[in-house]
Structure formats: structure tokens, C-alpha cells
Symmetry: C2
């Protein structure tokens, strides 16, 4: 199963609405990096509204994909982090310190636009 | 399996990147109508770029979902229809006469914006 990635102008929008098992998460990582390369996207919003639980592996993959995307020149905003996901991330010591977050997809996109223009 | 639906302001964006079997297509139809109801979306872009084949059932479901969405007050634009899909649709006599189409997601969204503002 693959996580769909939507290209909108210079942004990539991803709403994770499937259950993220290990294989899907790694496939998503690979797909996203390929898509950044192919499209030259400058900004990425990963919306986690529908994700109500993460384990340590998925949390690590998410953290990694943010760092990898940054390395490739694309800014990532994580949106819609649910309370249990926030709890798990902090409990696991994954602080996502330098990762901008926002409440939902719209606000995430606004944040990216402000950032890339400013 | 479900087709993810992204809400962006007053629009819903759908990029179909899974294989549409009969069950998935019907689930998508139901999910989309529910989402229109929940969000009050005015416009919908269904991007078919990754769909390289449709059968008569899927084609009918797609045609139906457009009509149903219209009934609920949301305008639908189909984008990224691939040559084999266009051939199948016309061969099947599904002309989508009143359905606006566009090359890709961006142009579909532009079309909706023009339409809803105009």
C-alpha cells in the first residue's frame, strides 16, 4: 500500500489516512524523496490528522523523512498531530525540535508560504 | 483500502493512487459524499493521473459520484485523465458531458476557483 502524494504548485501535500505499518512507512519515505527530486518541490505538508497512534519505528521514520527532505532542500511542516501521537513522540524522546507544526493542512500550507516568501 | 480525501479551504482534493477495485470505488463514493456533507466543500478535484485503466463499473461509479456531488452542491473537476482511460470512457458511452476536466491538479483547482468566484 502506498501513501498518495499530491503536488500542488511548488508544494507536496500528504494526508496519511492509511494505517502506517513498517513497510508502508518505508515505502512512503522512498516515494516522498523521489517525488521531491522529480518535482523540485520546495515545501511539504504531512498531515497526520487521521493517524491516532505511532510506534517507535514509525516515529523514527517520520523524524528521518523530515531530516532527509530538509537535506534535499524542501521544508516540511507536520500538521494534525493528535494528542496520543504527541504523547508517544515526547515519551520516545522524539522532540521534532526544528520541525514546524500546525493544526491542520490549511495552516500548514500558510506557514510554508509565509516561510518561503519571507 | 480507502482513497484519502484532503480538505483545503473550501475544496476537497483527491488523488487516486490506489488500484480502484469495485469495493474501494464504492467506499470512495460514500466517503466523498460524507466529507462533502461534513465540510460543506464547494469544489472537488479528482485527479486520475495515476489511474491507467478503468472498467465499466469503475467508470459508472466515477460518473455517478460526480452527479451525486453536484446534487449536494459541490462542483467537480476531473483531472489527469490518461489516454487509455479517455478511450475506455468514450467506448463505454460515458461522455461526462457536463463534467469540467483539466490537465492536472493545479489547473483543476484554478478552474474551480474561477468558476466559484465568477
Amino acid at each position: 500500500m502506498r501513501v498518495p502524494i499530491l503536488k500542488l504548485h511548488e508544494y507536496l501535500l500528504i494526508s496519511i489516512q492509511v494505517e502506517l505499518d513498517d513497510k508502508t512507512a518505508l515505502q512512503f519515505q522512498e516515494d516522498l524523496l523521489t517525488k521531491i527530486h522529480d518535482t523540485g518541490a520546495k515545501g511539504i505538508v504531512i498531515d497526520l490528522t487521521s493517524v491516532d497512534m505511532v510506534d517507535s519505528f514509525i516515529a523514527k521514520v517520520l523524524g528521518d523523512v523530515v531530516k532527509m527532505s530538509n537535506l534535499m532542500g524542501a521544508k516540511v511542516v507536520l500538521t494534525g498531530i493528535q494528542p496520543p501521537v504527541a504523547i508517544t513522540l515526547i515519551d520516545l524522546g522524539i522532540h521534532m525540535r526544528d520541525v514546524p507544526t500546525a493544526l491542520d493542512l490549511e495552516q500548514g500550507l500558510d506557514k510554508l508560504q509565509l516561510d518561503l516568501e519571507g
